[in-house]
């Protein structure tokens, strides 16, 4: 059971460098699974609707945040939407889905009442503007695995 310990300069103090690795499995649940399966199989983005508050949640959720009602009505939302905000990550960290620089955006898809966080691509960072229209770009069928990353990124809608 080797570990790396390092003595600090000039004092009898040691630092123990180690690592914990616990394997994890997260269950998407019935609602989450359906959302992801629709991305993989049908390239469709689905949300759940609260009939009382008339709100559509994307990604799909099982509970309405406002009235605590349980949601069972599924609706398809558009794959086009409006960019609400954006930020660029330039520093590498171990948990990034792609190498930096990564442009993150919050997008409100047409038909949804929530924003979804995803990446932006095929766009010049200097041209980013809050309010611009964007569209989802999906991965190929072979690349899609029922993950939020089955959407490759959102790209600007060119209006001619």
């Amino acid at each position: 059971m080797a570990a790396l310990t390092e003595k600090l300069e000039g004092m009898d103090v040691w630092v123990y460098h180690g690592q914990i690795n616990i394997p994890n499995t997260y269950s998407a649940g019935a609602v989450g699974s359906r959302f992801l399966i629709e991305l993989r199989d049908n390239k469709r983005i689905m949300g759940t609707r609260c009939p009382k508050c008339n709100l559509v949640y994307v990604p799909a959720r099982s509970v309405c945040r406002d009235c605590f009602g349980q949601l069972s009505e599924w609706v398809e939302v558009s794959n086009k939407g409006t960019l609400l905000s954006h930020a660029i990550a330039r520093q590498p960290t171990p948990v990034q889905p792609v190498p930096p620089p990564i442009i993150y955006g919050i997008i409100q898809l047409d038909g949804a009442d929530t924003g979804i966080v995803h990446m932006l691509g095929e766009v010049d960072p200097t041209q980013l503007k809050v309010g611009m229209r964007v569209k989802a770009v999906f991965k190929t069928k072979k690349q899609r695995v029922a993950s939020i990353l089955d959407i490759k990124y959102f790209k600007p809608l060119r209006t001619k």
């Binding site: 994890n24 269950s27 989450g32 099982s62």
Partner: protein, 389 residues
Amino acid sequence: MAHRTAIVGVGQTHHASRRKDVSLAEMVGEAVRAALADAQLNVKDIDAFIFSNMEAFEGILLPDHGMIAEVGAVGKPGFKVTGGGTTGSEAVGEGCHMISSGLYDVVMVVSWQKHDCGDATAGISAAAVPTFAKGLVTGAVSEFAKQALSYMKDSGAREEHAAMIRLKADRGACRNPYSHLKIGLTSVDEVLKSPYLVWPIRLYDFCPQSSGACVVILASEKSAKKMHQKPVWVADFEVVHQEPFRAGSFGDPTGTETYSQHVACERLYKRNGITDVRKQVDLAEIYEPSTWEEISLYEHLYFCEKNEGWKLVERGATEIEGEFPVNCSGGVLATNPIGATPVLRIAESALQIRGDAGEHQATRDIKSAVATALGGPNWTALFLLKRSL
């Protein structure tokens, strides 16, 4: 306590090894709705929420962040408790503190563990302080193995006694619709055939890792009187922490370590005038990660004299029909979602006092109960619940 606290609703999920059909938030939501239904309350009636969960085991930091909507806590005060095996009890204790201070009237304690997300043994091994304990701790099992060896040597108990505890737990679990492990054991021999994990702990001597949630709703005396359910009063509680520095965590082989159980019991029993637990209290729901630990806890919680625990087992005193039923629900040996397990002990005791435990209701009339929790390294939480104060 300044304001008296009562349990006015309990709810739990059907505990299982894997709950792939629900996300973490949804699983907890099931228990929340069950508790609200039991109390006949609307989620809007809850003033504050306390979350109880051991984080390392799901591998997600701050898992409560993703379930605020599912629990109905949006916009409400919330607090998180993480304390090892005693997490749930400490959370309920916090709820009692809040109510007795007069700060809130109705508090919901939400506890859960979704073990299918991670690996609890790995998580517990990772709790070993790396600079001096790494490599010397193999999860909880090896610690309880040491405890079992010490107990066998000192008291003369045999492996058959541990097997009898498993039979009792399984009988209770088979009568409890919510329990996880329902094996259907019929004889001591069946238990003695199960393989060793860390000698002398066998597979059947140890608790499982369950995925489940348990929710308890606490209310002040003023609010409890207006509610649907018969209140179960939290008469008193103690939480004692410990850091053993000699050799054993749970069974001190050196004979010189202070047991947090003794400290907690001495204080709580004295305050409540309890000198003979089996006569003055009607039932116990104790936190026993292994069969051997249950026998040893009978002694450490002063249910009987030292080295006499196995004699109580032999004459069936702690069975559902016995003179002092312990763990009618199947206990931790049948169901163990770690963050929720202590809350299950409190919830099961409350059901027994209300007479609502269905098929696993104790034969005697239960007016008072002791609910305990055990955490590493040997922390104790002790609750005294009563039908009337």
